[in-house]
């Protein structure tokens, strides 16, 4: 017999909730400090977010370790240059003890309402990498630098529909943070 899988799922959801809380708190701190510039790259925004995640006292209380730009090791031949072929993900948060750790990942993508290239990139190098398990469990973050949330989400979903992928969709705007 094993533990009821619903219980495993509840614990994983609780850890995910903590990771999201740390991310939301980081975002609110950036907005409060008014440091964010709309010309920043994804990595700039992620680095600033991560600085706030590291400083959050809840992270220490919950014993969550975090780092940015993490390689996700895959089972590929160990020949010269193999590390460059590893998928690289923007955030890695873990719960750990001396016996092991549980990882949760965030990938981030810049978005602009009228930029189809960015929206297409959000799908191909964001959504698809989670769907194909190139990235293990985690969440995809969109840094919306210009335009409205609803229109951008509709734009992404329109591209997915054009690809006949109605089963996959970006979330409604109720799941989004805005300043």
């Amino acid at each position: 017999m094993v533990l009821n899988p619903i219980i495993n799922e509840k614990f994983r959801n609780a850890f995910e909730h903590r990771c999201l809380q740390l991310m939301f708190d980081g975002y609110k701190a950036i907005i409060f400090e008014n440091t964010l510039q709309l010309t920043w790259s994804e990595n700039d925004i992620s680095a600033e977010l991560h600085r706030h995640i590291k400083e959050n006292p809840l992270r220490l209380k919950w014993k969550v370790s975090s780092n940015v730009e993490e390689n996700v090791p895959k089972n590929i031949p160990r020949t010269r240059g193999f590390a460059d072929k590893y998928p690289r993900i923007d955030f890695r948060l873990t719960s750990f003890t001396k016996n092991g750790e549980y990882e949760y990942f965030f990938e981030a993508k810049n978005l602009r309402q009228n930029d189809t290239v960015l929206k297409r990139r959000y799908i191909t190098t964001g959504i698809d990498h989670f769907v194909t398990k190139r990235y293990p469990n985690g969440s995809l973050i969109g840094y919306l630098l210009e335009g409205g949330i609803d229109a951008t989400v509709k734009g992404i979903n329109r591209l997915l529909a054009r690809d006949n992928r109605q089963s996959v969709s970006a979330l409604p705007s109720t799941y989004f943070l805005s300043n």
């Binding site: 017999m1 094993v2 533990l3 009821n4 219980i7 495993n8 614990f11 994983r12 850890f15 014993k63 719960s95 750990f96 003890t97 016996n99 092991g100 750790e101 549980y102």
Partner: protein
Amino acid sequence: MVKLSFAKEGQEAYVSHEPIDTELKKIDQYLWEEKARNIYFRKKLNYKTGNDIYLIRPNQRRFWSQSMALEDASELILEILTGN
């Protein structure tokens, strides 16, 4: 031994008077791990089934201290997260 049960509503902790000494003695035979010749370590056991988790430890104070409980809790949470 302590039994944790997951339920929709919380319940008060209580002491069970079920006779389980014989079973615990049987389990104890399997909780010794030989690390080297004549050196044995006592292992802890977390048995999970359905909505219950049984924490089985030797009847020694060091296994039932508050600090050990905190360490056990962190390890148990990780076991549940990773599905081990």
